[in-house]
Amino acid sequence: MARFIVRRLFAVIGVLFVISVLTFLIFQVIPNGDPAARIGGQHANAATIAQIRHTWGFDRPIYIQYLKTMGQIFSGTVVSYSQGVNVLASIRRGLPATLSLAIGAGIIWFTLGVLLGVITAVRAGRFSDRALTVLAFIGVSCPPFFLGALAIYYLGYKANIIPLGGYVPFTTSPGQWFSHLIAPWLVLSVLFIGIYSRVLRSTILDTQHEDFVRTARAKGLSERQTLFRHVLRNSMIPVISLWGLDFAQVIGGGAILTETVFNLHGVGQFAADSIQMLDVPPILVITMLTAFFVVLLGAVVDIVYALLDPRIRLSG
């Protein structure tokens, strides 16, 4: 276990390093992407731009710029180029909205995905299975911003059931918080519910033909006991793995489309805004944050695997 954690820690550091270098390079190789010109604005003359370039250190070699930015990130003083705000403070401001979105949606899509997966597996081939299959297909074929637009128009403007976007902190008003988030939660969940229910359905159907399930039935367990104690426990592994990675992406700002269409001002929307302005520091911090969560939850998922299935040993 200790060995596993240490090795994973090194993997985290390695991935974060490569991703930070890659992100830095993507934005530095752009010929017209001179950050000094953007900071200076449209009316800056050559002297001003040269001055900005010098104060921000853009005239230094690229690896020095990289090291300087990374130093600022870890000391918490990194400032965005175009907006001139502290990046970490901005992310901290966006984090409550993103976490609220991720946790609520994560619970919804996991619960409904598992529920629908079990129902369709148990009723495989019947009408309810076919109907839910069609729904799952539609779910994986809908871009979230289109679903979001449908929700805002029909439920927001027409029916007046939900607000038209924005985020209200839980501490300000729990009721408002909930009503502002219910539509984003569902919109973000639709896709994942579609995927998870289908994955679970097929693994349950595969597991049902395993020898240990026959043994469980033969020793007199009821169908319900067999399903929950033996079949489901073994079928959950791929779903948990998917959940860990998807959840990590959403926490790290991966729900860019949902956050933007509902105007939640979360980390994802901050990332989208920064990319539009080719603002390297925020993008660097957010991609590293996401990659960190992806690798971290990857490790957590492996530990949960080992708990669910004693045959799995933790290594590497």
Binding site: V15, I19, L22, T23, I26, F27, V29, I30, P31, N32, G33, A124, G125, D129, A136, F137, I138, V140, S141, C142, P143, P144, F145, F146, A149, L150, I152, Y153, Y157, L191, F192, I195, R198, V199, S202, T203, L205, D206, S241, L242, L245, D246, Q249, G253, G254, I256, L257, T260, V261, G268, A271, A272, I275, L278, I283, T287, T290, A291, V294, V295
Partner: protein
């Protein structure tokens, strides 16, 4: 958020018939001898009515989009970027402004001109829908080809050579994988659109196509590599090696043909996801650049002006969902037909 992250999962998630393997084995026992695997797959696919229906629907959508110039010149008499903002048209005998005095465009007229209404610049929505579909499908198809081409090469190379080449390629794939799809896509899309390398700049459709094609490489390369790792230990590869065939030749003539069903299965999967990602990137302003239409840019133009003229969101949105849905259902049918127990699956 993309194709397949957990490779342990097995099965064909989107099929409805369960004890299918048993039925199929029985059916296949009655087939005349000498029927090849693709003939068998075709027979299975032919029985899958919903897959055939959606396959047909996709063909109809593609043909309609390819006929965009014909519709534009012979029926609507306007181009996708032609501006009619100050013009008037006759509806039911009376003249109406294409975009009225408070800036609202007309809705669907159900006539040859402005069949589906106009957008805020007074452009014909139906014409833009068809041209936009052509762009969306083109970007998706080119991205899919890029992904499949490089993923196959990387997967075969990594799986066949093993050793340090494999180590290097696998690490590289892992890094792209850990990178959030949308952030990587938007970062590359915006920086290429502004800066650009060679033909990849400005509003060229190649920018989103290359970006999307690049982003999806690991999702195909990893399973391909896994399969090659198994294939290279098989007897026919040993036989080829003993015959003195070069490594390149073994990869091309012994390994590659055995990957064909995996590759065929991934084609619709990547195509559907590429079209969705293009729409997402366009929504964030990093995909197809204006004034070129695409379904994604059209939806996002419409979203910006909600609640006015909601048909500008609905029309391209429904087309996009129909196109992606038809690829997904048909692709699932193909997957079922090729290998009822295939180990790849759709995911977002």
């Amino acid at each position: 958020m993309s194709i397949e992250r957990a490779t342990e999962a097995s099965g064909t998630e989107f099929s409805t018939d369960i004890p299918a393997e048993l039925i199929r084995e029985e059916e296949e026992a009655h087939l005349p001898p000498g029927v090849g695997p693709y003939e068998l797959a075709w027979r299975r696919l032919r029985r899958n009515k919903s897959a055939l229906f959606f396959g047909g629907l996709f063909v109809v959508i593609v043909v309609l989009c390819l006929l965009a110039p014909v519709y534009a010149s012979d029926i609507a008499h306007t181009g996708p970027n032609a501006n009619h903002i100050t013009e008037q048209i006759k509806i039911g005998g009376k003249l109406t402004y294409v975009v009225n005095t408070i800036g609202l465009p007309i809705g669907p007229t159900w006539h040859s001109k402005f069949f589906l209404g106009a957008d805020f610049n007074g452009r014909d929505e139906a014409v833009r829908l068809l041209y936009g579909g052509r762009n969306s499908l083109e970007v998706g198809a080119v991205a899919m080809l890029i992904t499949m081409f490089f993923a196959t090469i990387i997967g075969v190379l990594a799986g066949y050579t093993r050793g340090w080449v494999d180590g290097l390629l696998t690490r590289a794939l892992d890094v792209i994988w850990a990178y959030p799809v949308y952030i990587l896509g938007v970062a590359l899309g915006v920086s290429l659109a502004i800066g650009g390398i060679g033909p990849l700049h400005g509003n060229s459709l190649l920018v989103p196509a290359v970006v999307i094609g690049f982003v999806y490489i690991p999702y195909v390369a990893k399973p391909v590599r896994g399969q090659v790792l198994g294939l290279r230990e098989r007897e026919f590869v040993d036989a080829a090696r003993v015959q003195g065939l070069s490594h390149l030749r073994i990869m091309a003539t012994e390994i590659l043909p055995n990957l064909s069903s995996t590759i065929i299965v991934f084609i619709p999967l990547i195509l559907a996801n590429a079209i969705l990602l293009e729409a997402g990137l366009s929504f964030l302003g990093a995909g197809v650049q204006p004034p070129n239409p695409s379904w994604g840019t059209m939806i996002s133009d419409g979203i910006r002006i909600i609640p006015a003229s909601f048909h500008l969101v609905l029309v391209p949105g429904i087309m996009l969902v129909l196109a992606v849905l038809s690829i997904n259902v048909f692709g699932d049918g193909v997957r079922d037909a090729l290998d009822p127990r295939a180990k790849v699956r759709v995911s977002h």
